[in-house]
């Protein structure tokens, strides 16, 4: 992969990725209290992370910027499987951008939806698909048995499949919202 990122591009990517990490943790926080709210967290993240993704894709339309963003988001998730999943997501995103053209809004939309689905799959579904018992025990210790039982009951396969579809839809809505914000504020201000 030819990388022509300059220092100013890396600085911009770092700054916007920091904002992405903050949004990833802070915005869904009120929903985690309730066990049903853990299903809402990936939807909220999909909706609100879009603006950061679009900004990086528009301000730094070069090979590697979105991959770095995905790696940083993966590291912020603090689990090895999550880092690996978002690294793969970054490679897929870079492939799409290379084929469709860096800076293209359509490419950013498609790649963001894929990123959001990967994010949901790795963050919310992998623990319950592959480490079901260990995750249940961990939830019992952290949150109590009642909370853990409720979380377990809402993680059935039909619900998980529905969640992935819902994340895709929310990600798409997030891209529409982001494009509106970019046009309304940032293009007018000359930032983009």
């Amino acid at each position: 992969m030819r990388n022509n990122l300059k220092a100013k591009d890396l600085v911009m990517t770092g700054v916007l990725s920091l904002l992405g990490v903050v949004i990833m943790y802070v915005v869904p926080m009120p929903f985690v209290i309730n066990p049903y709210g853990t299903l809402i967290s990936p939807l909220i993240q999909a909706l609100f992370l879009a603006i950061v993704y679009f900004l990086i894709g528009s301000k730094v339309p070069k090979t590697g910027a979105l991959l770095i963003f995905c790696i940083i988001m993966g590291i912020a998730g603090m689990a090895l499987y999550y880092i690996a999943a978002l690294f793969v997501a970054g490679l897929v995103v870079e492939f799409i951008m290379k084929k469709q053209g860096y800076g293209s809004k359509r490419a950013l939309t498609v790649s963001y939806i894929l990123f959001a689905v990967f994010n949901c799959f790795a963050g919310s579904l992998v623990p319950y698909l592959f480490f079901r018992d260990a995750t249940y025990m961990q939830n019992v210790q952290l949150y109590g048995e009642k909370y853990a039982n409720t979380v377990k009951s809402v993680r059935s396969q039909p619900i998980m499949l529905g969640l992935i579809i819902a994340v895709g839809i929310m990600a798409f809505l997030g891209t529409l919202f982001s494009k509106r914000l970019l046009k309304k504020h940032f293009e007018k201000a000359g930032i983009l």
Binding site: L10, G14, V21, I33, K59, G64, I68, L181
Partner: protein, 225 residues
């Protein structure tokens, strides 16, 4: 030449970074009832060894207060405090100690010595440096909205998001532009070997601390105390 230490003994930035990484990794993995206490004790010990006594005292007070809250609250609030806030205090303490124990330049030098690629090193360093600036900017924006009489009551979540996020992003983009210009004038793009006025060496005491820390965290993980 090793620079004179003004703040007493301090570990190599990599040891403090290791503390942050291990604390973050184990934060939600340790399952024992007193896991948050053990994590906190380790982090505060590191703060003391780094001669960051004020930071240690401040976070100890916060931890005791939050721990007390976790005992007296019930239901969803207790879950939130025990599962997130209490453990988050340990991580917050570890990050604060890391940031205050060394200049950003020393952290960058130590990461460069670890052969981290520039494509990750620069964004990571920027994130470390910018975190406090971001918090400050959010506070200023809230203050600005208050001054202008902009109330968030009755507004939709989307509008609230727009009201906060757009100014924050504008500020961050402008500051990023200034920062990158400053970095360019300091030769960040130069391809040759970079040297530093501040010398960072991984001493025997740093290696011993890293081994002991890893041992303690491994012990906590295996025993799930």
């Amino acid at each position: 030449m090793v620079s004179k230490k003004k703040n007493g003994f301090q570990f190599d930035p990599r040891v403090n970074l290791l503390t942050v990484v291990l604390t973050a990794s184990l934060m939600f993995i340790l399952q024992g009832e007193y896991a948050s206490v053990y994590l906190f004790v380790v982090v505060i010990s590191m703060a003391a060894l780094n001669c960051k006594i004020k930071i240690g005292i401040k976070y100890t007070v916060i931890f005791i207060f939050v721990y007390g809250l976790s005992l007296i609250t019930r239901g969803a609030l207790q879950v939130l405090i025990k599962a997130f806030v209490l453990r988050g205090v340990s991580l917050g303490a570890a990050v604060t100690v890391m940031i205050h124990s060394a200049d950003t330049s020393k952290i960058i030098v130590s990461l460069r010595q670890m052969k981290l690629p520039e494509q990750l090193l620069i964004p990571f360093s920027v994130m470390l440096r910018f975190f406090s600036t971001l918090i400050q900017d959010i506070k200023l924006i809230r203050f600005g909205m208050k001054t202008r009489g902009i109330s968030l009551i009755g507004k939709s979540p989307v509008m609230i998001y727009e009201l906060y996020l757009v100014p924050v992003i504008m500020r961050m983009v402008k500051t990023a532009g200034n920062l990158s210009a400053a970095a360019e004038t300091r030769g960040i793009s130069w391809k040759g070997e970079k040297t530093s006025y501040e010398q960072v060496r991984f001493r025997v005491v740093d290696a011993a601390a890293a081994v002991i820390l890893t041992g303690i965290y491994t012990f906590l993980f295996i025993t799930q105390l």
